[in-house]
């Protein structure tokens, strides 16, 4: 059995979404918060909800408007046999073409399929029907039959780990064992009563006082005996009182991760009837190694699992064809458009797993830019509570990859920007899609030059200090000489950090020296961070209009006001 197609209309944050040709296996919905991932899972849970009680209200209608009904339509390939038999839903049997995935209303030689529609209008009366194109009317499908599809939500609540009515554990327990439980509980109740009776005599004086007045009021016969007893009948000691224990501790008291793993274990038993599992935020409560193991287990099951995740670990475990991206605020009409193409994206997903979970991506030419972006964001968040960093900088490893990655993320619906130098003619940004933001240095500038060209004497000294720290005085002296500083007084002043000796700050030469190919001063994440700190400090760098403009552009894009984000 497989869910083949899903169409959601006017449900919570989703106005309309259609997902066709849904494959088998584990499928992860990814994207930043509030992008509708959980709503897709909830829609599936509602569609296969096994009981009549359903807690949906006005807030579950898109935009809170109840004029038009919530509608969830799902098509299931290879549904459980008993449901498509004669005198069941055979009149509504549809087919799916194995090659194209198209739905055929009257099947010839196709995969058998059924389509179910959930609807709830302003009367808040939910209806579930099996439908097809050839019949004007659908036919109702009962909760019991919806349950037969075996679409189960992994909730891992306490009730899921007890033998109460309708619990997953109850489902997987055979009838004989259940009867036995019943009699064991009856005996246990009896024993508990007997055992407590002696100890509860401590309450005797109170009981006697009550009994005396009660007799006066003729509530009780003279001579009737009042006592305090444990009220341990089967009502208080039901099968719901029996819960799964590990090492004598109830599993429901364990962490969410453990509870979730045990819940998956219960639904994995053949007799649970579970086919499709729904798991919201799979990684919650689990360390990376347990997440990894769980994903591998679910993969090996070979059945459909719909999950949402914010975990790079989960992403790295899955093939790109198993990922579906959802974007906030721009929920697409079709999830299919977002299926990642394996050949193009498998590498980047493994490499940039974190980026796939962000909403904005800064494609950085080098590590300097990565560090620079991180530091700019950190500074801004620290100084301005209204700002929120939404950017994930990624290292494109060289300018030749910048355009490719930025285009890829843009196509996937991410907001992308390129952060790069402007000191070579090689990097041509013209092929970039117009929606990609360009955060490029001024003409003829590398990022070091963009900052240090306007360095004050102190700024020059600071920068040289970074170089010396990394490569030693001799190397840096040589670099500065090559960059055109021949005056030993100036060189000494720079290398000893005595900025007072500098009549004029040799900022351009220092900038050139810093980006030396062989021994660069800032070509690391830490270097980039230092460079960003220097740039933001007026004592070190003169805040020229050009620099201010560059920095603000970077700040605004990487860490917009929180309410804009």
């Amino acid at each position: 059995m497989r869910i083949h197609e899903l169409e959601i209309s006017r449900f919570r944050g989703i106005q309309h979404l259609k997902w066709t040709n849904i494959p088998d296996g584990v499928l992860a919905l990814i994207g930043p918060g509030d992008s509708g991932k959980t709503t897709v899972l909830e829609a599936l849970a509602v569609l296969f909800h096994a009981y009549w009680t359903l807690n949906l209200g006005e807030n579950d209608f898109y935009g809170h408007g109840t004029e038009e009904p919530i509608e969830i339509v799902g098509t299931i390939v290879d549904p459980p046999r008993p449901l498509i038999e004669d005198r069941q839903f055979l009149p509504y049997l549809r087919g799916v073409d194995g090659a194209t995935g198209y739905i055929v209303d009257e099947p010839e030689d196709h995969l058998p399929a059924l389509t179910i529609r959930f609807r709830m209008g302003s009367d808040f009366e939910p209806t579930w029907e099996v439908i097809c194109d050839r019949h004007d009317q659908g036919t109702r499908i009962s909760g019991e039959k919806r349950r037969q599809f075996g679409v189960r939500q992994i909730n891992a609540t306490g009730a899921d780990l007890r033998w109460g009515t309708r619990s997953p554990l109850r489902t997987v327990t055979n009838a004989a064992d259940e009867d036995l439980t019943e009699s064991v509980l009856r005996d246990a109740a009896k024993a508990a009563r007997a055992q407590a009776s002696e100890g509860l005599k401590a309450l005797g004086s109170t009981v006697n006082q009550v009994a005396e007045v009660a007799r006066l009021l003729r509530a009780a016969r003279v001579g009737s005996n009042y006592s305090a007893e444990l009220d341990a009948d089967l009502a208080s000691l039901s099968r719901g009182s029996v819960s799964l224990h590990a090492d004598d501790l109830p599993v429901e008291r364990a962490g969410l991760g453990t509870r979730r793993l045990v819940s998956v274990a219960v639904e994995s038993l053949a007799q649970s009837g579970a086919t499709v599992l729904l798991c919201d935020e799979l990684e919650i409560g689990l360390e990376p190694h347990r997440v990894r193991h769980l994903v591998r287990y679910l993969q090996s099951r070979g059945k459909q699992v719909f999950l949402t995740t914010h975990s790079p670990t989960v992403l790295r475990e899955l093939g790109v064809d198993q990922l579906r991206l959802l974007r906030p605020g721009q929920i697409p009409g079709s999830l299919n458009a977002l299926a990642l193409r394996a050949d193009e994206y498998q590498g980047p997903v493994r490499t940039f797993a974190d980026a796939f979970l962000a909403s904005r991506i800064a494609v950085c030419e080098g590590l300097t830019e990565v560090g620079f972006v991180l530091q700019v964001c950190a500074d801004l968040e620290a100084s301005d509570p209204a700002r929120l960093s939404v950017v994930e900088p990624i290292h494109a490893v060289g300018d030749t990859n910048v355009v490719g990655y930025a285009t890829m993320f843009d196509e996937l619906g991410f907001e992308a920007a390129v952060v790069c130098d402007n000191d070579t003619k090689i990097l041509d940004l013209t092929p970039l899609p117009p929606s990609v933001t360009t955060l490029r240095c001024d003409v003829d500038c590398s990022i070091e030059q963009q900052v240090l060209n306007n360095a004050t004497g102190d700024g020059c000294v600071e920068a040289v200090g970074v170089g010396v720290g990394a490569h030693g005085k001799d190397v840096v002296r040589a670099q500065l000489r090559t960059a055109g500083i021949t005056d030993d007084t100036i060189l000494d002043a720079l290398l000893t950090g005595d900025s007072a000796q500098l009549a004029e700050a040799p900022s351009r030469q220092v900038a050139i020296a810093s980006k030396s190919k062989r021994s660069p001063w800032f070509k690391s994440v830490a270097g980039g961070e230092t460079l960003a700190r220097i740039a933001a400090e007026p004592r070190l760098v003169t805040q020229t209009p050009g620099l201010v403009e560059y920095m603000n552009k970077l700040r605004d894009w990487c860490a917009p006001n929180a309410d804009e984000a």
Partner: protein, 472 residues
């Protein structure tokens, strides 16, 4: 109660069993179903009466849940309604084209996906009365039989249903090619308690009839030849009949159906009635006519004509001729004050269905009136009472006809007259076969004769002999 079936049909796999009349075919099916509580059976037959009888017998074993029993037509209709588009199934509101439904259903189950879902519902298919299957029935069943072990039961000597010339019955030779013969039921159970001699005589005539080596000798005390002094349509059967006995009069030539109501009418005083079929074509055409936008006089005329064909002595009702003549001429009743005239006047004043029923009641209450087609009359009257408007009438009638068809069991009433086609499957103590020389085929003859539990009378008119089938 649980007896081992004479033949366990599930052991056959796919094949056929020849089942002569009265040899316990229904019993074999029911016992086979009851013997396998874990298997799901689909049991198909041709008529609602057959369905009712099979369900009855299976219920007596307490095995109702193991088998789904349905007519082939009903199953076909469900299938074409389920998948109407590909086969272009358009259903008219008034009349269902069952031949088209069977052909359409064959196409529907010919689709692998549908067939596979359908077939997974059942472990065994049993088709009863297979000799009545046409070529298109045979094709339809054939598709299902590819996926489900299928046993067909029937008797080529009872193959008389051939309504549609374009779709003839499938020859038994072809049946056994698809469903290899697994034997023949051999005990004439029906006659062990009534007349074993008749039972073995009926068994003995099978071979001559099958091979065409007749005439058959009638020198046995179970078959009597009676020469009538005048044709049955002129009351010739009077001395042969006594009221209340279980007797069926079968007309030799089933093509001469028109004679059947005449015979009933002539012998109505003895309580002879027409054996009615479930289709009730005359009811349908009357109700269709009444639903037309015509005046009250026309409706009255159509209804009294129908009445005259359902009961004897209608036109002898006091004031009948005068009133009808006046109404036809001037649209008013005239001065007559008979109960009939009063009823008609009320109807002319208030021409609605329910008031027309009062007119019918008035005629039936008249002394000397005897109903011989009670079922069709009852359906018309129920429809008139139910319908709020003339246009509702056909739909109401159809519902009552369907109901009657479903509740109808194999039920023979005393003293009925019918054709072989109509009384097939029923049993009477005595069979009076009229004009045996005119019986068109060995199959018709076998069906007619096997309706008898105790004895058979071959009745001929003066200038007629026993003909090719029998010798004295």
């Amino acid at each position: 109660m649980l007896t081992k079936p004479e033949i366990d049909l599930t052991e056959i796999g796919t094949g056929s069993v020849t089942a002569p009349a009265g040899h316990g075919k229904t019993e074999v099916i029911a016992a086979s179903v009851a013997a396998h509580p874990k298997l799901r059976f689909l049991v198909l037959t041709h008529t609602n009466a057959g369905v009712a009888s099979l369900r009855d017998r299976i219920a007596r074993y307490g095995a109702t849940g193991y088998a789904h029993v349905e007519t082939i037509s009903a199953l076909a209709l469900r299938l074409v309604r389920a998948f109407p588009v590909g086969i272009g199934w358009i259903e008219s509101k008034n009349k269902i084209d069952y031949a088209a439904a069977i052909a359409g259903a064959a196409a529907v189950v010919g689709r692998p996906t549908v067939l596979s879902a359908f077939a997974s519902t059942y472990d065994h298919l049993v088709v009863d009365e297979y000799q009545d299957c046409t070529r298109s029935h045979h094709a339809f069943i054939g598709h299902i039989a590819r996926c489900i072990p299928t046993v067909v039961l029937g008797d080529p000597l009872q193959a008389i249903f051939s309504i549609d010339r374009a779709d003839p019955l499938v020859p038994w030779g072809e049946v056994i090619k698809a469903y290899p013969s697994q034997g023949e039921l051999s005990t004439p159970h029906r006659w062990t308690a009534t007349n074993p001699v008749l039972g073995s005589w009926l068994q003995s005539i099978r071979d001559p009839l099958r091979t065409g080596v007749h005439p058959i000798r009638t020198d046995t005390n179970v078959v009597t030849h009676v020469r009538l002094d005048r044709p049955a349509s002129q009351g010739g059967l009077y001395r042969l009949l006594s009221p209340g006995t279980s007797t069926v009069i079968i007309v030799g030539n089933s093509a001469k159906n028109a004679v059947i109501p005449k015979i009933a009418q002539m012998h109505a005083k003895l309580g002879v009635s027409v054996h009615e079929t479930a289709q009730q074509n005359e009811v349908v055409s009357l109700c269709d006519a009444l639903a037309e936008p015509v005046n009250a006089a026309t409706r009255l005329g159509a209804t009294t004509d129908f009445l005259a064909g359902s009961a004897s002595g209608v036109k002898a009702t006091a004031g009948f001729d005068t009133v009808m003549r006046n109404v036809k001429k001037s649209g008013s009743v005239g001065r007559s004050a008979t109960p009939f005239a009063l009823a008609v006047r009320k109807f002319m004043d208030q021409p609605i269905p329910a008031v027309l029923n009062n007119v019918i009641q008035c005629v039936l209450d008249a002394p000397g009136c005897r109903i011989y087609r009670g079922e069709q009359l009852a359906i018309v009257r129920k429809s008139l009472i139910t319908a709020s408007d003339w246009t509702d009438l056909p739909e109401a009638a159809r519902q009552f006809i369907d109901q009657a068809g479903h509740v109808r069991h194999l039920r023979a009433r005393p003293l009925e007259v019918g054709s072989t086609l109509r009384v097939k499957g029923l049993e009477y103590d005595q069979v009076i076969l009229l004009d045996p020389s005119e019986v068109p085929s060995a199959e018709h003859l076998y069906v007619a004769l096997t309706r008898a539990r105790h004895r058979i009378i071959l009745a001929t008119v003066p200038d007629q002999g026993l003909g090719k089938w029998f010798t004295g």
